[in-house]
């Protein structure tokens, strides 16, 4: 279980995250919602070790992992799918996937790879092509597939569905659910709140770096403020 307590992230004198606390439980999907600039990505980056939080703590199964270097966190099973894809452009698609599995145990490697290819056949087709030449959505698939390769225990995902066609969003979110069901803890930032809520267990809404709502996913849908803030007026009308 990943526990984030009173996390603060500052960039110079910009306070991007101001005391965020939330839990990620194995087998559960925690969905983070929030407007542009609310501090979602900053929270995830701080957990993954890419930004140093100025205050607060992160615990993994009771161990303090605050401010641990990113590569050490990966070895403990905490993996981040970063915002904006960040594939290794000049390397081939296959090499990107191999890097995803850099720390993973070798036994399950081939099996995982096969599953990734099954999920995104285009990645198999383009295995020897440079990752940077893929289309935006294909790169997003690669980023997701790459994270799967590491066989994580806790997965942090920053907008995994960005730029993906609706069918693919469905399959990715289904996969997320499936992973959660297999015991992985998932912390997911997702702007496509509507689809995200379908697979989430917990919902946390962040505004201006603070948690403004947190509750069970089912309740969130029936909560007017959340609806209005993150699903738009249309969602209210629909109800």
């Amino acid at each position: 279980m990943l526990e984030i307590k009173d996390l603060h992230v500052h960039y110079g004198n910009i306070e991007a995250v101001r005391g965020v606390s939330l839990d990620v439980e194995p087998g559960k999907v925690t969905l983070v919602l929030g407007a542009n600039g609310a501090g979602k990505s900053s929270t995830l980056k701080a957990v993954a070790g890419l930004e140093r939080p100025v205050q607060g703590s992160v615990h993994l199964n009771g161990d303090d992992i605050t401010r641990l270097a990113p590569h050490k966190l990966v070895r403990r099973g905490v993996v981040l799918v970063p915002e904006g894809r960040r594939v290794f452009s000049p390397l081939t698609v296959a090499e990107n996937l191999r890097l995803g599995g850099y720390t993973a145990p070798k036994e399950a490697y081939d099996e995982t790879l096969a599953r990734v290819y099954e999920m995104f056949p285009i990645l198999a087709d383009r295995g020897n092509g440079a990752a940077g030449l893929l289309s935006g959505g294909e790169q997003q698939m690669l980023a997701f597939g790459r994270a799967l390769m590491s066989q994580p225990k806790v997965m942090l995902m920053d907008e995994p569905s960005m730029g993906l066609a609706p069918v693919v969003v469905d399959s990715i979110l289904a996969k997320v659910r499936q992973m959660a069901d297999s015991g992985i803890g998932i912390l997911m930032v997702e702007q496509n709140a509507d689809a995200g809520l379908d697979v989430a267990d917990q919902v946390v809404a962040i505004a201006r770096g603070e948690v403004v709502y947190s509750g069970v996913a089912g309740d969130a849908r029936s909560h007017a403020s959340v609806l209005r803030a993150f699903l738009g007026e249309a969602a209210l009308a629909e109800q």
């Binding site: 590569h71 970063p82 960040r86 000049p90 090499e95 191999r98 890097l99 850099y102 940077g132």
Partner: protein, 295 residues
């Protein structure tokens, strides 16, 4: 024939020197302009040690290797790591590293110049004697043969390791995007240090072999080689192991041909002119891959 042998010998020295530079540049994106100083100073250290005691070839090579690796590590920790930590973006870091390397290189150079008063130094005190083997018309010294073997072995192992091994791949990913590489679980610092050490070791080794082969070098020898190595790597295509070997032997051949067939004072004009022409035809070097870009 004898000329061909000269080309191979000279080319393998260029290769040995350029290999380390190419390794750090092509993988972790560090174009180390202190490489020439490492080369020279390793040899210089061996020379200083030889003033105290007599040593054979293996020990001298070991000294070169260790001093080179240590210097390279030191530069990485004290200069390059700090630059990367502070730089705003990758391109700015590249420039700073370039200049930082040039600055750092002045330090060992000044020390060596101070002690030698810029006179050449060599290993005449070594117990190892350079012999010449004759096969028919061909003559080759044992040290030239050794240089060729060392260069080829190191080159092949570096190339294979980079292409095939897990760490090789990890190393290349660091050069592309160090932060994301860390997110893959790669310890970028350790990998970078290891690479720098290996590259420095190669520079040190080539310094020692080069000094043996020529009888003597001067403190400024490293600088001359630096420009040539830069040319070799660019010519072959940055990041390509085949490329650096091609570049090294191409340059050696061009120089030898010019030096022996025409007036030697045109050597640079012709060899760099050739490089210029090759670049017009292959803008990313002979074996280099074009930058991956799309809209």
């Amino acid at each position: 024939m004898q000329d061909l042998l000269s080309v191979v010998t000279l080319g393998s020295i260029y290769l040995l020197f350029a290999l380390g530079m190419s390794l750090t540049w092509g993988t972790i994106d560090i174009l180390n302009f202190g490489h020439g100083a490492i080369f020279m100073f390793s040899s210089f250290t061996a020379y200083l040690v030889l003033q105290q005691t007599e040593l054979g070839l293996p020990l001298i090579m070991l000294i070169g290797l260790i001093v080179g690796a240590l210097m390279s590590l030191l530069i990485q920790v004290l200069a390059f790591e700090q630059i990367i930590k502070r730089a705003k973006d990758k391109r700015a870091a590249e420039m700073q590293i370039l200049i930082g390397g040039i600055g750092v290189a002045i330090i060992p150079l000044a020390i060596a110049q101070h002690y030698t008063k810029s006179n050449p130094f060599g290993f005449s005190k070594s117990t190892f004697k350079v012999n010449t083997w004759t096969m028919g018309d061909l003559r080759i010294t044992n040290i030239a043969a050794l240089s060729i073997v060392v260069a080829v072995v190191l080159w092949v192992s570096a190339a294979v390791w980079l292409r095939r091994s897990r760490q090789g791949l990890a190393l290349r990913s660091i050069g592309v995007d160090a932060e994301t590489a860390a997110l893959m679980g790669i310890d970028r610092r350790k990998m970078a240090l290891a690479t720098m050490a290996v590259a420095g070791g190669m520079a040190g080794l080539s310094g020692v072999l080069f000094t043996f082969g020529l009888g003597a070098i001067t403190p400024e020898s490293g600088d001359t080689l630096l420009v040539k190595a830069f040319a070799c790597i660019i010519l072959g295509g940055v990041g390509s192991m085949r490329g650096v070997a091609f570049g090294a032997f191409f340059l050696a051949a061009a120089e030898t041909v010019v030096l022996t067939q025409t007036s030697g004072s045109w050597v640079e004009a012709v060899s760099f002119g050739l490089i210029f022409l090759v670049l017009l035809v292959r803008p990313s070097g002979v074996f280099g891959r074009a930058e991956v870009r799309r809209t």
